[in-house]
Symmetry: D2
Subunit: 346 residues, 4 copies
């Protein structure tokens, strides 16, 4: 069975496993105070072109989002997100669990539009009753978005400018950041993100690691006693070096970028393959997730040999589905996909 249903179905890049095996019996200090976390942090800061950043490692995306939003907003503040934002929809209310509201604005293919953001902030501050409302205290973006789409540099600059004007931090959820940075259709670099955002995270779980996300505070703005906040959230790993060493490997010799690029290129082959066969796309994605509209009968046939994700019902006879590549996808798997598809179609 071909597995293209998501980008977190397999373990880790073999270099990571090798390294974990190598250092297995080296005693390490706990809770992220080890040299691997230190070293990985240095490499990430170099890759970001931001040498006075602070880097912390968490185990998963929802955890990282709740922790960062909770610790960078005041208790009377919420976080502005697109209505399709992961924090708003698919995190079981982890942000609200910490007492903060997610303030949604209608997204455009998963993206926040600068003018809508500006209106939202302007309206809040002009409202006579704003003391009775949740203050917009942060802006949350995902890049790539939940729909695989990307912000252009200009869009990011506009949003960042608005955040600075209103003096609220811009936070970028980079669960799939590698696949965004290595897209052929992006003009946004990691340096740009570090420059334009106040905090962001570089996803490891979906990009080559067993688990782990690297949170980067770029403006000397790490929340006070952040380690205590991590602990309080139940997010402090005793053997913190496990995340450190994984990111150390990923950010050595550009491995993170290399494996991301491979995945995105294979996703583009999926895109081309479906396009050539005349399929409609649910959304036009330049990254590792591809959203295709399938006729239901064909979908059921395909499902017997390929795992993909249900996305959305289109009409009574059509469904949008998602195919995702990852660092672990092989070119042969893409060939296999289209071989199976062509059999189904014939």
């Amino acid at each position: 069975m071909l597995s293209l249903e998501s980008d977190y179905t397999k373990g880790a890049h073999k270099k990571i496993l090798e390294r974990l095996c190598e250092i297995n019996m080296e005693p390490q200090p706990g809770y992220g105070s080890d040299m691997y976390c230190e070293q990985a942090g240095e490499k990430i800061k170099a890759a970001c072109g931001c040498h006075d950043a602070d880097v912390f490692f968490m185990t998963g995306g929802t955890q990282t989002n709740a922790l960062i939003i909770d610790s960078m907003t005041e208790p009377y503040e919420g976080v502005v997100a697109a209505d399709s934002g992961h924090v708003s929809v698919h995190e079981a209310g982890a942000v609200e669990f910490t007492g903060h509201k997610v303030l949604t604005i209608p997204g455009n293919c998963g993206k926040i539009q600068a003018d809508r953001l500006r209106n939202c902030l302007e309206d809040f501050w002009k409202d006579e009753n704003h003391e009775h409302m949740v203050f917009p205290g942060m802006v949350y973006l995902s890049h790539p978005t939940e729909f695989g789409t990307l912000y252009s540099l200009k869009e990011l600059e506009e949003i960042s400018g608005i955040c600075r004007e209103y003096q609220i931090p811009l936070y970028l959820d980079g669960a799939r950041l590698g696949y965004g940075l290595m897209s052929q259709d992006t003009n946004v670099s990691l340096e740009d993100i570090a420059r334009l955002c106040d905090v962001f995270y570089i996803g490891g779980t979906k990009v080559g690691a067993l688990f782990g996300e690297a949170a980067v505070f770029t403006k000397k703005n790490t929340p006070k006693h952040f380690v205590t906040r991590i602990k309080q959230h139940g997010a402090l790993l005793a053997k913190g070096w496990l995340t450190g060493v994984q990111f150390d490997v990923l950010f050595t010799d550009g491995l993170y970028f290399e494996i991301s690029k491979k995945a995105v290129n294979l996703a583009q082959k999926i895109k081309e393959g479906f396009a050539q066969r005349g399929y409609e796309f649910f959304i036009d994605s330049p990254t590792n997730q591809q959203f295709i509209v399938l006729e239901n009968g064909e979908m059921e046939q395909l499902r017997k040999k390929v795992r993909f994700s249900f996305w959305e019902k289109i009409d009574d006879s059509h469904t949008a589905v998602r195919f995702a590549t990852s660092w672990a996808t092989k070119e042969s798997e893409i060939r296999e996909l289209f071989k199976i598809l062509d059999e189904v179609r014939s």
Copy 2:
């Protein structure tokens, strides 16, 4: 440098690493719905002699404690713990962060005493103003305790009986459970714990795993929609099988017990070694943590070649320190410890 400062300084038992490497490229469903979690759960249930238990895997102890306490108590309830309990002292208020008070009673070498527990519960319910107080809604034990001590079967039975009388769940924090079960001085088995507790966790992080704790609900009492609660706490690992496969290995052919036994035996050698040399013990521990009173000058000498933990200042010239063995400790390291000690003393 000899490393005896804690039981979480090294990676994982080699069988775990081997297994992780073997299955690395097998695609797995996410969030703990995989066959390894299933399989590990079955083995744990068998080891507990409790076939209708439910087993869930988390990544760390504080996370597990906060999740279980929060989801098994009503919002108006707190958890009763010894004043030295980990949830009360060393979890950065993670329990209070979820809105629940930790209600402390004075512990005896880290243990709750049945009569004090009974008084606490009796006093609460007799108090005319108890509606203005936090209800005692759960009892929290650690076994081994933070001082390495163990409950006897009779003590556990008494506490469990009181909990049933007052109809509140008994929760046992088993961060170091293996080292308790394999002590030469215990008459408490895993089956006893499963029978007497309503929920407990089997620690992996400190007993052979890279990370991971297995929460066991023994009385068909898993909180409703518990997966959503895990997600809400930011504790749901995308690649849940990573914990499943580790516990699967640990609970195959009794590995968990075998490595625990080895560690406890080595700890007893530490105990004997210090006893023979006439040292005083800060506390009498039958498990993998040994608490010795050192003269400060000697302590400083020893520290140059051995890592151990500061525990408590005794007086101006003496300090209690902790030496911990683990699944990873070698017999040669204990010999080395005393070789160094004897050099220091001579």
Copy 3:
């Protein structure tokens, strides 16, 4: 200066003040355990035709909303509300502060539409990923809504039916309930509300009392140890009889309904007065709040002699404003309003 800006600018109906003065030196037991709370509860239950209801008194609307929603939903559940719902917009995130998400659906003039509600619930339960989402655990309505509009009996029955089908409680925020029940354009009675809702509150602050809201649980569904929850929320008044005695007066000889009716009738005179003069209405309200579109110049003139509320900018030269009557409004004030308006217009 004529005061029509809101319905909470004046103290209490004189019968309430008289009664407070009369009983001032009678010693009472605290925290709502007094005979006035008891007596008021009985009268409210009779008025609701629901003799096994439980009635509790709080001091304000936001407090009541947060308390009821928090204590009647599970921690993994949120409350469904219209996007304009008071709990969603104007309570400073008090619901999220207790950990629960407000799940919004687009409202129609402030009202939830049954078909949208059904879709929302259906979509949730059909979604394969709903375990990663906030469960819709309650439905919140305001009646009258924030726009002064009312649900018809048929609408309420449909919504109530959907809630029962999905086994979630229906909660009605009756901050201005009297003004809804006494509208000439309603076919909904207090008995209907008690029958169709699982919990609701009867607003006192805006309807004749100094302060106070009466929460009514209609289905033997009072949350366990609710007094403790009230205390925990900081909402338990030491001298609870102060709310009890006010509601006792309001529900003696139909005072609550009588003063509400008078206010609604005066609001209809405002409506007629503006209609006769050819004004446009921002929204068609059958209750005590009237929303009129004014030309900006005229608005500024009027503002010199009358206090009203800004509601919404319509275009560059027009603004929607609100005039509110209350139990305290006099017929002469309405005549004065139009006298002033006619002067402004001439």
Copy 4:
């Protein structure tokens, strides 16, 4: 039946009721933005000798405590209190509900001792693991304490000095502040409190008002957007002037002090009466609460004609009980008490 069981069994001083009646039909702006709140604030600031203080009004003590502690501590901080402190014992966990731990130290007759406080803070900061612990972020005192005792000026100065040394705010719960300030055995003035504390509240509920507490921030340290925090806690009264006007009356011509003095003097008569008759005191209180040890049979006899509070069982045949005076107590009631007692004893 004589009512001496507590100080919140009766309504308000008649001047307050008169004033409420007088202004009943004056329209007021909402949410505490009215002139009565303004005026009362000014008078309180004058009485405190602290002209740049900020004053806010809440409805009850638990609400005020939770709000002030929550908004003046960081999320990783808790509040240090005596183990008998009201916030620790009798507020149903309202502080923990907001996510903050109450860190207790053993009290001495309800009071925090300076040396214990210093040790607690010193120990925390010296602890190598303090990042895994709840930070002591505020000190909470009650004055009078729950046992009616008072801090001396020297004690307050010492505690205040320690707080400043550790840069954490000192908060004083003045639910019964009047009865403390007017004690014959105090050398602490309201100015002292304003000078030595960072925030405190002046209790109205127990000292002449229907309800209401006045929070005073003395060091230009009002939490940012505090009105929004009040709203978020469900503590913002729509008709905020109700509290303002009550404190305006209480702080006009020294009424607050006058009625407090009368109550304390009557309490001293209770003390003398019991002392003359040879009774033992459970605690030596110089304020309006008197704690007497009664023989159980006598207690039961007395209970038939006098209401008092059970405090604590002393032994099988004796019980400590509390008699409380208040602004509403009459001298004749004290005479009546002893007349009844003497009948019982004869």
